[in-house]
């Protein structure tokens, strides 16, 4: 492939990734409570960083001729760990009794784990 075609592919991937990251940061700032915020921040930021790293991988692989294994390792690592970290943060927030936003209409875990007061007291007992 010629150089300009590769540059176009890389630029499109970069634009997709960067706009995803910007949208996730706006969501992190604008959404009302921690659960919706981490919904906005975790998934789309992961996708954005993944496509940015894929752009780097394609750029060096196609132009320099060898594929960088460390960037590939970074892609796999980010893909595996970023959703796990988001899930752990949400779980810790729910179990330590962080309140939901006032607009929330449903809380399925309330029957199992108790409401906020109970969860907060349970944590104190431990």
């Amino acid at each position: 492939m010629s150089e300009s075609v590769i540059e176009i592919i890389v630029a499109v991937l970069l634009i997709i990734g960067v706009s995803m990251i910007l949208l996730s940061a706006i969501g992190l700032l604008r959404l009302p409570d921690i659960y919706t915020r981490s919904h906005g921040a975790t998934k789309s930021a992961t996708l954005g960083v993944l496509s940015t790293l894929v752009a780097v991988f394609i750029y060096f692989g196609a132009l320099e001729g060898f594929y960088n294994v460390r960037v590939l390792l970074g892609i796999v690592f980010v893909f595996l760990t970023a959703p796990v970290a988001g899930h752990l943060c949400c779980r810790a927030a729910y179990r330590s009794g962080t309140p939901l936003a006032e607009e929330s209409v449903q809380d399925d875990l309330k029957e199992i784990l108790g409401d906020e007061e109970q969860r907060r007291n349970q944590r104190m007992d431990k």
Binding site: L14, R37, V49, V56, V71, A85, A92
Partner: protein, 93 residues
């Protein structure tokens, strides 16, 4: 053209880094700050990978890896601290 796209991408990423810092500074609860710092680490990975293309070097690949690991371990440790009050459990239960 290609360089212009890179620089615009860097500018947009700086804006989103600032938004993350704003949420980390004003977040009402501790878990908001944890999520914001985790997202900050992810954005830094994207930032540095764009620098790799812009400077045409592969020297920053390790930085990407180490930042990913640090962001993950930091969020897991803070989430565990928030849930149990300790980071390392002494007794098994």
């Amino acid at each position: 053209m290609f360089e212009v796209i890179m620089i615009v991408a860097l500018l947009v990423l700086s804006v989103s880094l600032m938004l993350c810092i704003a949420r980390a500074l004003m977040g009402p609860t501790l878990s908001d700050r944890i999520v914001a710092l985790d997202s900050f680490g992810l954005n830094l990975i994207g930032f540095i990978s764009i620098f790799m293309i812009l400077q045409n070097t592969e020297a920053y690949a390790e930085v990407v890896l180490v930042l990913g690991i640090l962001a993950f371990v930091g969020s897991v440790a803070l989430a565990k601290f928030l849930e149990r009050g300790v980071v390392i459990d002494r007794d098994s239960h």
